[in-house]
Amino acid sequence: MKNIVMAWRSILRHGRRTIVTVSALVLGLAGLVVFQGFLGQMMQGFRDGMILSGIGHLQVAANAKYFVDGEFNPFPYSLADSKALSDSLAREPGVMAVFPSTGFVAVAGIGDKSATLLVKAYPPDRMYFSSGSGVVTPPSDKFNLGALVAGAGLKTEDRDKLVVGEIAARVLGAKVGDVLTLMAILPGGNLEGRDFTVSGIFSSPGKDKSFAYTDYATASSFIRMPQPPVLIVLARNIASVPRIAQSLPAGLAHRTWRDLATLFVQVSSIIGSFLTVIRLIILLVTLFILANSMNRSVLERMREWGTLRAIGTKKRDILSLILWEGGLQGLLGALAGTALGFIISWIIDASGGLSYHSGAQSYAVMVRPGLDSVWLSVIPAVLTAGLAALVPGIRAIRLTPSRCLREA
């Protein structure tokens, strides 16, 4: 205990040196905490964005093969008694919404123009298309399917209406209010056709070219499939997804958002590695600065080591004292850096966060570092600082007391 007290007083006694030494750590970690908070929120937004782009938190199908080839070929995968299953799932704690979905491929024609469309269908009250300009906050209980560039989304009572991707609409020369004829091949080779009115035109990267959305009831009757191939579950929070999945009756197949949002998992892993590299660079810089500072401190305090050894202090206690000095500087720098990071994050948040723009719309990204930033900063920093003090410490105890006293 005495060693900790002496180490603490020593670093306070050499205040200026301590400040210079720990400042690299403070600034580095503060930057890292803010950056981590920003990336964390970005990734959370990215994750939620992917989930609400049409994946949902959980998808339940009759057969696992649906997840391989059933999205636009639902016919072999009819989910029997989906209403009872949907009601049962909706009663599970943590479930916000359960709704059916289907999809099909159709050739759309208008006048002398035609294009192949991938049509996805959900209940209209679960579809959201943003519109207008300024800061957008999409709802969390609907799929956010893109930004409207013309017309409107689908209302609950709408039937036989489509919201078409911008490029597909351009290829077809379709405008809001135009009628598109959709032709789909059903099981057994039957060709089914129906007229759909263009309710709106949307823009969404990657989906503009070939996607269109309609309401589930229309799609279900058009492809003559009274039962959906899949039920989509939206959870109140991510953490409840595994428990909801466990509550499913045996014999059903399911995929969680994590299984389906492969891009998010890959990007998340890359960003995690990136943060680790930045953290290592900061710790490496700290290691060199602290080792240099500790080395100077040890050399300047030869008389102290000689005296302590002469009056009976053992080598291991002197090494412990020096390691404590390094470790405490690391702890001090890590705590100060983390605190500074949280303060900067709070200031950024209080001023509305950082925004990024997508067309006319902008999205605010808050900077909210998690509590894991604290231990992810403190533990490595203390260990690094201890390591930085190790070599000077060993150097100090390898000298004889008389040599320390002579060279003081």
Partner: protein
């Protein structure tokens, strides 16, 4: 009855490729309770001999036995404990630990001995009272005068009730009057504690406090005599 015995003590320092002799053929016996002064010019080997006696350095050749312990046979940790239990040190530049208060500096050797807190407190305060620093026990050493610092160092040296006190030029950093007061205090406390005092000086006025005077030249003891 003897406290210290050195037989054919030799000490050499290696300076690049040259070997520099610091002590040559030292044969010395010091009995308990003696006050021994090492005198001689700078570089005569006084401090080296004190370091050897204080077990903070080792002989290159020869043997030193202190209180029945052959110092060369003790391992480093054992030597540390031996120094802590057997010896007290007073240095020319006081060598107080700057981050510890007056009380804590004197208490430190007792902490190493794991003396219980209440006993530590009592022993430290008793010694601080004897050296006239009781009212300064919370201060840091840097807020004391030179004489007060040396008195504090004496209290630290004696707090473990050592059998041997080693003082290297204890008055060299002090003015004449303060130096005289320090020597009187050291001799008086040494006498009352019954410990052996070995000190080095090149000041004849300080040497007068010894009962035995060893004169050193070129690493050898050239004169060993009792003084009145």
């Amino acid at each position: 009855m003897e406290l210290i015995r050195i037989e054919n003590g030799q000490k050499h320092y290696q300076l690049e490729k040259a070997e520099i002799p610091a002590l040559e053929g030292i044969n010395l016996v010091i009995s308990p309770g003696e006050r021994v002064c090492l005198m001689g010019p700078s570089g005569s080997g006084k401090s080296t001999l004190l370091n050897i006696i204080g077990c903070v350095d080792t002989l290159s050749e020869g043997r030193i036995v202190i209180a029945g312990n052959d110092a060369s046979s003790l391992k480093d940790a054992q030597l540390s404990e031996f120094r802590n239990r057997t010896m007290g040190f007073v240095f020319q530049t006081f060598n107080l630990i700057p981050v510890l208060s007056v009380f804590e500096n004197v208490e430190y050797p007792l902490l190493l001995q794991r003396v219980p807190k209440t006993e530590r407190g009592a022993r430290v305060m008793e010694l601080l009272e004897r050296v006239g620093l009781k009212d300064f026990h919370r201060r840091g050493p840097e807020r004391l005068s030179g004489g007060q610092r040396q008195r504090e160092a004496i209290a630290r040296a004696l707090v473990t009730r050592p059998r041997l006190v080693i003082a290297d030029e204890p008055t060299a950093a002090l003015d004449h009057a303060t130096g005289k007061a320090i020597m009187e205090l050291m001799v008086e406390m040494n006498y009352s504690a019954g410990s052996t005092l070995v000190f080095a000086t090149h000041d004849p006025a300080v040497a007068r406090y010894a009962g035995r005077l060893l004169t050193m030249t070129d690493g050898r003891i050239v004169e060993d005599r009792e003084v009145a």
